[in-house]
Structures are given as C-alpha cells and as structure tokens.
Amino acid sequence: MRYLPKSPAERREMLATIGATSIDDLFASIPERYRLREALKLPGPLSEAEVIDFFKARAAENSVGHSSFLGAGVYNHLRSVVTDAIIQRGEFLTSYTPYQAEIAQGTLQAIFEFQTLMCQLTGQEVANASMYDGSTAATEAVLMAERLTGRSRILVARSVHPEYREVLGTYAKNSGLHVDEIGYAADGTLDRDALRSALKNDVAVVLVQSPNFFGAIESLAPLAEAAHANGALLAVAITEAVSLGAVKAPVDADIVAMEAQSFGLAPSYGGPFAGVVATKEKFVRQMPGRLAGQTIDAAGNRGFVLTLATREQHIRREKATSNICTNQALCALAATVHLTLLGKEGLREMAQQNLSKAQFALAELEKIPGVRRAFAAPFFNEFTIELPRSVKLVNAYLLRDKVVGPFVLGQRYPELTKHALVCVTETTPRTDIEHFAASLRRALEQPL
C-alpha cells in the first residue's frame, strides 16, 4: 500500500527483533473473541486515479452550472490562488500545534499576525487564534460573559443567525443559562424598546449580529449603553466579515464573535471555517482558545509562543475556559494570507463592490411588480425582499432557470412567510443578477 513505507522483509525482521513470531502476537492483549477474523467490509482499495474519479463523479452531482443568491452565513468571495499555494506547503499543512515553539515559529508568527488583523478589523484589543466557527465563537462569547459577570440570563436578538441561536441553545441548556429572545423592529434592526424592558440586573450579556440575519446593520452604541447601564456586556456576532471593509468596526462591543469564512475559505458545503473571539484586554484571561504571544529567547531574538495556556483544558481540565483543543489553524492561516493579499485597499474595494452589486440587485428587483424591500435599515451585501407569493414555489421555478434562489426566511421565521434573503457579492456577474431578476419576474407572472 502506497502510504506504508515497509517491505514485507522489513516487517519480518522487525518482528524478529521484538521476539514475536507474527504480528498477531502484538495484539495478544486483546481478548481473542473480540479480535476480528475477517477484513472489514469497506469499499476499495482504490488507486489515486480511482479516488479522484470517485470524487469527480460526486462533484458532478451537485450544483455546477447554477448561479446562486444564497448567503445566510456562508459567502462566495474571490479567493486568490496564492492562498492555496501557501497553505498547501507541507510545512504548514502537515505541521502540528505549535507547542514546541522553537520548531514552529512559522505557525506562531502567522497566528500572531492573524490575531493582529482580527483586532484591526474589529477595533478590539485582543483576539484569539480561532474557534471552530462563528456559531461556536458566539456561544463561547456568551459563556465568557457569564463567567465575567457571574450572571446566567442571556438576551439574544431573534435576528441573530438561526443556527447560531440553535447552537447557543444546545450549550446553554446544559450550563444553566437562561436565554430570552428580543424581537426586531419594523426597520429590521433590534427592537430597542423590547431590549430595554427585558434588561434587568440579572443579564450577563446581550447578543446581537451585525449585519444581522435580515442583512440589516445594527447601531451598536445605544445597545452597548443600555446593556452597560444594567451591568451587562454587549456581544456582537459577525457572519459576513467582508462587511468590515465598509462598515464601522464594532468598537462598542465588549466581545466580538466573528466568522472568518469570507476571508479566503471556500463554502465547502458548510466547513471547515474559522471563528474568532475578540475582546478588550481586561477580559483576556476569560477568553477561550489559543493565544500566540510575543517574547524573546536568551539571545534577545524576538519569537512567539503559545501563552496564557493556564486558561485551557490541558492545564485547567475541569476548570478550563473551554474544552477546545484542536481549532481551525490552517483556515485561520488561509484567512491571514488572504487578508495580506487584499490589504487595506483591496478589502475596501472588495467591500465597495459588494455594496454596489447589492444596491444594483435591489434596484433591479424592485422594478418587478409585487416585489418590495422589506426592511428600511441600511444593508451591506444581503437584503430582505417581500414577494406576493410563497418563496419556496418561486425558488422551484427559478431552479428550472438554473438559479439557486434566495434563502426562504419563512422556514426560520414563521411570520415572514413571503420574505426572502437575497445575497449578492463581488463574484455575482451583472448578467446573473439580470437573469435572476428576469426569471423572478416570469415566476411571479405564472398562474398560481
């Protein structure tokens, strides 16, 4: 087998050295009746070409040839081939967690740069080296706020991504956290009156998302003020990180939980992505996840090490800030490479293109009789429209025109039965937008 560097002769010799007559001797500690007598019934073995053929055949059974207007937490953005050229280098791809700093300075310096970029983007003071994804980062932010305030009641905006809220619910159930939801106002942003009435001195944190699940951008300063006045923290989740190229940094947040997928990571049917928790320096000891810190060696050379490890599971065990061990290091590296490629101007331009495409798309769609913009709040590259009929049926029609239609909000918000979340990025050609609009117009003209 091509992955095994031993010849039969070497195996025999090594066994002889050990004093074993056959390899079965080495498994003698497993009670005989539990040792398999037959080979496992698995498909294969496949040669390299056959492996490739298998997966190419699977790839052909998916959505190739369709245009898509889906966002809702996973975004299609330009990705440079330079990123892969770097992360496919064996020294990055096949290296271990950088516990042995002397032979992992490449990884550690890259993590330090990632942490810096995340702070610059979010306007926060410290950022970690990644969490599994945005949904678990948001959950960890909430748990962090619980530890910091000693309180166990959480207020979460309904306009936070439904799956993020689901994940939070799974973790909250078992940590004795009580989660209350706050609705949205007519313009699509958080209902501030509802927030104010819900805020009491037992709230640990208010969790919002911006841009939120409807695409609306939240005004964070008043939310922070309201939260702080009651001794609570403000946590902000960001699912579309490219928005930070055009939208002000969430400096009013105490904790930011961001999904970095938009920075050079392919949608890949849902993962792997990379979450980040960023916060104020005074909260750093309650922050979960690995941290790379700058230091020097005995000769005075600058170097980097994993630091503040006493927060983590391998030292604190039961009392750890989180159970996380493996994180999303290679994804964070991809984001780091991507962001250094984009640079200051590139990110600004990319965000500007997203804004422009979305504005154009909305204008085209609003020309269609029956289609109206649902929420008045400013948006980045996603917006909600209301249709005169079921979005599901409309999407079925669009599919025949090879258009993967917008997200059906009704499946998560029962009161938004005819609403759809449209996403357009810099990768959506104008012709696709026009084709989508034309197809939608025809769909709405169909008899019911």
Binding site: R285, A309, T310, I315, R316
Partner: protein
C-alpha cells in the same frame, strides 16, 4: 531560605503571620520553588469572607495553576495589589513582599493548629523524600 520562626505554616504550603487580630497570608518558599515562575495571581477583594481549609484564590505559573487555601478564617481586609504588575515578588520574596492577603481573624485560635517553622521544615523534608522515591 529560612522559614521565619514567628510564622505558622500549613500542609498546603501557606504561611500566616499574626499581628493582633490581623493575619497576613502568603505561600512559602517551598511552594514558589515547586510552582516555578509565577505569572498571575487571582485574589479576593476586600470584604470577602474566607474559611480555613477552603480555597480563596489561585497562583499561576506558565504550566500550572495552584489553588491557595486559607490557613485561617475571617474577612479579607487587603489584597496585595502589587502582584498584578509584579507577580515575580512571590518568587523573589515569598515571605515578605510576596504576601497575598490580610485577614481580620474571626477565630484567632485556629492559628494554634498550624505548624511552627521547625515542624514545617521537617514536613517538607519528608515530602521531598517521597517525591524522589
């Protein structure tokens, strides 16, 4: 390092120095040596009640976290704020500048149950014998 004869010591390697009804508490030279370089200390704020035998804070080195146990009961009157920026005091001067908290004793008799310097030195001698066995 010599162990001050007017201090009392616990099996968990804390020391107590009593002055009237105020006790100053810290960890011993033996403890700081085992711990290694101290990087962070978590201490209670004044007003908190501590109970003899129960933990009241932690001392962290790079690779480990140690709970600190109260040798006596009472109310915390002061925490050593210098340790925030200079945790190394615990390593450099564990019996004086590295003090952790001051307690207003609620039950001064508790001190009598603790070891004196000689008993403590004998205790750590047996401990190290066991460790290298």
């Amino acid at each position: 390092m010599a162990y001050p004869t007017d201090y009392r010591y616990t099996k968990d390697h804390e020391w107590v120095q009593v002055n009237g009804d105020i006790a100053t508490v810290g960890i011993t030279d033996h403890a700081q040596h085992e711990l290694g370089d101290v990087v962070f200390v978590e201490l209670p704020v004044p007003g908190v009640q501590v109970v003899a035998g129960k933990t009241f804070g932690t001392v962290e080195s790079v690779k480990a976290v140690s709970d600190i146990y109260a040798p006596v009961s009472g109310e915390v009157t002061k925490s050593n704020g210098d340790l925030q920026n200079a945790p190394q005091r615990i390593n450099e001067d564990p019996h004086a500048q590295g003090w952790l908290i001051k307690i207003h004793l609620s039950n001064p008799a508790e001190v009598n149950a603790l070891m004196d310097a000689a008993a403590y030195e004998a205790y750590i001698a047996t401990q190290s014998k066991e460790a290298s066995a």
